[in-house]
Symmetry: C4
Subunit: 252 residues, 4 copies
C-alpha cells in the first residue's frame, strides 16, 4: 500500500487560502484550538489522510461504528475580511521522524496545489508549571513575518523555546521555508501536564485577530473550567513535581 | 526479498466466503477461537504468508523439524446454511505499525480476490480483572451492521473499548471500510493476564450462531479448566495487581 | 546506497559446497566454532558483505587501520572425503527483523549461485546455568535430515528450544526451506552468560564428523580454560543469578 | 520526499580539496573543532543537507526565525601551503543505522564529485574521567596513513578505542575505504561528561599542523574556561561517578 493515502471527497476551489494546522501535541493546545475553529466556522471536511506512519488503530464512535485513525482537511470559504481557510486536524502525528517528514511534505504539497498563501501552525509550549495568563510565543520563516506577528501581540522571546520546535508545527515551517512558503508557528504557554483549553484560547485569540474570524470561546472556557476543577483537586493531594520540568520539550 | 511472501498451495474457488481473523493478541482470545474453528471444521490450509514484518524466527515441531513463522489462510466450503469460510490464523502480528498496515492490506487484497462478502475479526478486550461470564463486545464498519450484531447478542457499549482497537482486528475493519467492505470485530472480555479459552468460547458462541456453524466446545473448556487451576493457585500466593489495570489496552 | 553491498574478491568454482554459518549469538558459540574452522582449514576469504542493517561502525586492527563491520564469506576446497565448504562469519547479525530477513535472503542467493547442497548453521542454546558436558541440539528442514543427524549424536529433544530459533541460524533454515534447500542448525548448550569456547568445541566435534574434517581443538580448549579461570573467580564473589534464566532465548 | 535533500547555493571549483568532518558526538569535540575552523577561516556555506534521518525539528535564531535542522557544507580556498578545504558541520547525525549509512554515503559522493583527495574526521574519545592534557588518538584507512599521522604527533594505541568508532567519523572512513579513499579519524580525549572545547583544541592543533592552517585558539580557550568553572563547581557538590565509565563508547 502507499505510505500515505489521501481520500478526497471534494475538490474545493479556494482563493489563496490560509492553512491552519492543529495536531496533537503538548497540552493538545494546537489540536483544541484548530478543532474549535472547525466547529465555530462549520468548516467542511474535504479529505482524509491515512498512513502507515500512524498507529495501526481504529477509533469507535458512540454507536460502535469504527473509523481508521486519520488526519483530516477541512475548508471554509472567506467572508468579508476573512480569507478562505484550510484547517488540518487529526488523531495523531507521524510516529517516526520519517513519518513526520513524509506527512508534513504531503500536507505542503496539498497546500501548494491549493495555492496556499500562508501557513499558521498551532501548538503548546510546555513550561512545567501552571500558568494563569498564557503568553503566545511565535516563530516564523522570515524576519518580516516576525515583525508582523509582534504587532499582533505574539511574543518572540530569545531562547524560547530553547530546543526549537519538534513535530508537524515545526516541520511545516521548516520544509515550507525550503519550498519558499510563508509560515508562522503560534505556541500557547501551558504546563504540559494536562490538556489545556486555556492555552488553546490564548492561541485562538491571536489567530482570530490575524484572520478576522469571530470566535465564541465559551465552549473552550467551559472545558478549561472542568480541567481547573480536576487540577485543583489534584493539587490538594500532591505537591507539584517541579523536578520534571527539564523533561518538557516542545512537541506540537 | 519482497516485504510479504505468500506461498499458495491451492487456489480454492469459493462462493462469497466470509473471512474470519484470529491472530495473537490480548489473552490470545482471537487466536484460540479461530484455531478452534479450523480444527472443528477440518479447514484446509491453502496459503502461507511470510514477512520481514514478523520476527526473524523459526519454530520447531515435536520431531525437530522447523517452519518459518507465518500467517496461514485456511478455507472450508459451506454446508447447508453455513457459508464458505476463509480463516486467518498465525504465529504473530506485524511487529511495527508499517508491518501491521502492510499485512492487513495484503490480507484484504486476498479477501477481495476471493470476493469475500464480510469479515469477522476476533479478539480479546482486556478489563484488568478476572471475569466469570465474559461479554462479547462489538465494533463494525456501519450502523446497519451494528444493529444486526446487537440482535445476535453482541454488546455495543459506549466508550468500550475507549482507546479503540489496535492491531489486525482493528485494521481489517479500518482499511476494509476504506475499500468499502463490511466488517465486524468481536471482542471477548478477558482479564488480559492469561491466555483465555473462556473468552475464546464466548466469542465463538456468537460467531457460530452468526455463521450457522456447529462447534463442540469441550476442547476449549478443558483448556479453560487447566488455566483456572493455574490462576487459582496464583491467587493463593499473591493478591491481584489492580494497579496495572490502566496499562491494558486492546490489541487483537 | 544499496541495502546490502557485497564486494567479491574472487569467484571460486566449487563443487556442490556445504555452507556453514557462524555469526555472533548466545555465548558466541556459532561464531567461535566457524572462526576456528576458518583458521584450521586456512580458508580463503572471497567476499565481504556490508550493510546498513549493521551498526554504523568501523573496527581497528592493532596498527590503527580501520575496516567497516562486515559479514565475510570464506571457501576451502574439499580433500578426500571432505566436501568443498563455504563458511560465513562476521561481526554482527542484522540489527532489525527486516535486516535479518534481507541478509539471510542475500546469503541464500549466494548459496544458490554456488549450488550449495546443504547448509549447517551453528549457534548456542542458552540454558541459564553452567554446563560441564554440553549437548548439541539440532533442528532441521526435514524429518529425513533429523534422522540423519540423530545417528551422528545430535540431540533432538521435544520442546527444546521452546521458543524456536531466532536470528540467522534460524532464518537460513526457515527461508532455505521455502527455497527447497536442505539445512540443519546445530546448537551447543551454553550458560548464556559468557563467551563459550566449550560449547563451540562441542558443536565443532559434531560438525567435523559430519564433514570429515580434521580439527585440532587445542586453541579452543585454551580459550575455554581462560574463561574457566574468570568464571570461577566470579563465582567466589557472587552467587549465580538464577532468576535471569527466563530471559534467555536463543539467538544465533 | 527524497530521503536526503541537498540544497546547493554555489558550485565552487576546488583543487583536490581536503574534506573535514565535525558533527555532534562525544563531548561535541568534533563539532566544536570543525565549527571553530569554519569561523577562523571565514569559510563559505555552499550546500545544506536536510533529511528524514534527522529529527523532525526546526531551530530558532535570536529573532525567532526558524531553520530546518541540517548538515552544512562549507568551503575555503587554499592559500600558500594550505590546501582547498570542504568542511562538514551540522546539528545532528543520522538517527538510525540506516540514516548514518545513507548520510555518510551521500557525503562521500559529494566528496568524490569535488575530487576530494583526503578526509579528516574529527571526534572525541570518551575516557570517563577529567583529562588535563588530552591526547589525540588516530585511526586511518591504511598503514601508510597511520605512519604519516604518527609523525605529526597522533597517538595510535593498541586497543584504543576498543569498540571501534561509531557514527559519521567512523563511517566516512569505512565507506570511504570501500570507495578507495584516503581517510583519517582524529579523536581528542575527553571525559565524555561535558561539551569539551579543550579536546577540540587538541584535535585542531594537530589538524592545523597537518593542513598548514593558522588558527587562533583564544575563543575555544575562553569556552574551555567557562566549562572549567562549571565543572569545578559541580565537583564540590558531588563526587565523580566512576561507575558510569563502562557506558562510554565512542560516537563521533
Amino acid at each position: 500500500m502507499d505510505d500515505i493515502i489521501m481520500i478526497t471527497s471534494e475538490e474545493p476551489e479556494l482563493n489563496e487560502p490560509i492553512l491552519i494546522e492543529g495536531l496533537p501535541g503538548v497540552g493538545n493546545v494546537g489540536k483544541l484550538a484548530a478543532e474549535h475553529l472547525v466547529e465555530q466556522l462549520k468548516a467542511t471536511k474535504f479529505a482524509e489522510v491515512h498512513s502507515k506512519y500512524f498507529p495501526p488503530q481504529v477509533l469507535l464512535d458512540d454507536d460502535g461504528v469504527i473509523r481508521l485513525v486519520s488526519n483530516d482537511l477541512y475548508y471554509v470559504r472567506g467572508e468579508g475580511e476573512r480569507p478562505d481557510l484550510i484547517i488540518l486536524v487529526g488523531d495523531y502525528q507521524g510516529l517516526t521522524p520519517e513519518g513526520q517528514y513524509e506527512l508534513s511534505d504531503h500536507m505542503l504539497k496539498v497546500a501548494m496545489d491549493h495555492k496556499v498563501k500562508r501557513i499558521y501552525t498551532l501548538g503548546g509550549y510546555g513550561i512545567g508549571r501552571m500558568v494563569e495568563e498564557p503568553r503566545v510565543l511565535g516563530a516564523a520563516t522570515s524576519i518580516k513575518l516576525v515583525e508582523e506577528m509582534k504587532e499582533k501581540g505574539v511574543v518572540f522571546s530569545k531562547g524560547e523555546p530553547g530546543s526549537g520546535i519538534v513535530g508537524a508545527s515545526g516541520l511545516l515551517l521548516g520544509l515550507g521555508k525550503v519550498h519558499g512558503m510563508e509560515a508562522v508557528c503560534l505556541m500557547g504557554e501551558t504546563s504540559g501536564y494536562f490538556v489545556d483549553p486555556k492555552g488553546a484560547e490564548a492561541v485562538l485569540r491571536i489567530l482570530s485577530a490575524l484572520l478576522n474570524v469571530e470566535v465564541d470561546f465559551s465552549a473552550l472556557q467551559d472545558k478549561a473550567q472542568q480541567i481547573d476543577v480536576i487540577t485543583s483537586k489534584l493539587k490538594e493531594t500532591e505537591a507539584p513535581q517541579e523536578k520534571r520540568r527539564e523533561d518538557l520539550g516542545y512537541i506540537g
